[in-house]
Symmetry: C2
Subunit: 330 residues, 2 copies
């Protein structure tokens, strides 16, 4: 009787473990800060399509038993290559009219990480972040040093014309005008301050990964680095805990160590991913004055996507396989 | 009777509050990684003297009612100007033979922060970090963009000869030889990987501040950024919680979000500063393979200075006013 009970228990345990281990999930974002008034129906449709394509690229890898790191990279590459988001092609312009890109990636299994900041010409900064993680003893490389490493690793470069879109040149002009206005008491519209892409994934082996890529803030000073390439601020992943990618006014996300704070609250307070992220995005950041949002995925596949801006482009394929795309709170 | 009891209670409360509010403390470090064999008696005496001078400069500010931020800056400037430590003058050399400096500072009262990474020619990078915090909307500036801002702020610059010392040129040669050896299976000595200066302070108003400044790793790749300018990794301060400055193999400190993790454990697990720092430096980091140490100061003036390397140059003036300087565990 006892042995039979044990047998059934073990059978159930192994079944539930297999089930748990084969749970896969992927969440992507295309930046917080968009408002209903700013978003045309055409732009909305195109953005939703790009988010779906990003999810599909990443999810195929997870379904085939690939790693969460590979899925995160693949999902982000789609958004970097799309002119719609503030990363890779179509990134916002610095005050000098150039494109300076930042990206980071983190492996929850090993806590290894790679980050590139202030790089020009690299087509897919997320690939550079990955190469820094995998093929250098460093975590963070910046500027020409990072570009030299990208050349050594034979990563693809593109000329300035590839990155710089006419609408971003227009946006820079407006941002400069707004900055002048701000100097005389006005306020810089949120749309000039935010926008980033990112992905978090859980693979069949139960490993979590997170990645983020951005062009930063429109009209930013040359050399300015936001939270996206800062491990613990814009990106963090730790197996058995959570994977996080942030988007928003980066300075506040650095000061609040947002991505790691999600993990810390889950580890030390034993709260759910949703309780942890909401406390940070809806309470802690607004107190500081920080606008933005994040995507988070825990080790059971629970998804959390809070934001304190009017909208955030985001999408997910949960453990039940259903695709969900949203921009505003429902 | 009751009113008398209340009166005495209030009197005691206000006395204890005044006492608590007037507690001041300062802790400084000059880098982890030194071993007894590497340290000559002359070098030890000179280092102790410099640490004492650094403490005095910072402590005078605190005694006079100045801010913890000013005390941290003043203490760090002494160590940056000293040729003995890996920050400012006497910083280690990059693979290209240049000096690339990183620094950061954080204000526990407002959670404001400033950081500069990969800057050349700025005499006191901690002043640049402070200017970025106080006079720009950004937290982190890198490379030429950060240098341009330093020029705008009229910070003092020095020529390459000021920073580059003959012993560092010698050290670079040795590090390059060691790197070649490592490529064939050897191990890079700890002394080439670590070294940084930092300070944490508690002022009469009860405000905490932290700052860190470094030249990074000998023979580092151009553009490599370690934990020192990364808020949450190398530096963190939050009033009522803790101020932290780290030193060590920066890549591991970034991956483990060390400085913020000290604060998170204290906030969410309600452990003491010593319990929090020891768990990270003596358990978590060694598991990852990370060598180094940190200085931490909580809001009551409790000091914690753990390290997992043979030695760490550090000193403190506690709430009782006694000066303590140490390099190895006693």
């Amino acid at each position: 009787m006892l042995s039979r009970f044990l047998f059934v228990t073990l059978l159930l345990m192994s079944a539930s473990m297999t089930f748990a281990e084969s749970r896969i999930a992927l969440v992507v974002h295309g930046g917080a800060g968009v408002s209903r008034e700013e978003l045309s129906p055409e732009n909305e449709a195109a953005s939703r399509k790009a988010l779906e394509e990003s999810l599909q690229h990443g999810y195929e890898i997870l379904k085939a038993g690939g790693s969460s790191l590979d899925a995160v990279s693949a999902a982000i590459v789609v958004l970097e290559d799309s002119p719609l988001f503030n990363a890779g092609r179509g990134a916002v312009l610095t005050a000098a009219g150039t494109v300076e890109l930042d990206a980071s990636i983190m492996d929850g299994a090993t806590l290894k990480a790679g980050a590139a900041a202030g790089v020009q010409g690299v087509r897919n900064p997320i690939h550079l972040a990955r190469a820094i993680m995998d093929k250098s003893p460093h975590v963070m490389l910046t500027g020409p040093g990072a570009e030299a490493f990208a050349h050594e690793q034979k990563l693809r470069f593109e000329p300035a014309e590839y990155f710089i879109l006419p609408e971003r040149v227009e946006q820079l002009k407006k941002a400069k005008a707004a900055a002048l206005k701000q100097a005389s008491g006005g306020r810089i519209p949120t749309m000039f301050k935010v926008g980033t892409v990112g992905a978090v994934a859980l693979d069949k082996q139960g490993h979590l990964a997170a990645g983020t890529s951005t062009g930063g803030m429109t009209n930013k000073r040359a050399g300015r680095v936001g939270d996206s390439p800062v491990i613990g601020a814009g990106t963090y992943a730790e197996d058995q805990v959570v994977a996080v990618s942030c988007t928003g006014h980066g300075e506040f996300f650095i000061r609040a160590a947002v991505a790691y704070d999600v993990a810390a609250r889950m580890k030390y307070q034993s709260v759910t991913v949703d309780a942890a992220t909401r406390e940070i995005i809806k309470v802690k950041l607004p107190k500081l004055g920080g606008e933005g949002g994040l995507i988070a995925l825990d080790s059971k596949g629970e998804v959390s996507t809070p934001f304190n801006t009017p909208g955030m482009f985001h999408g997910s394929i949960g453990t039940d396989g259903t695709v969900h795309i949203a921009i505003f709170e429902e």
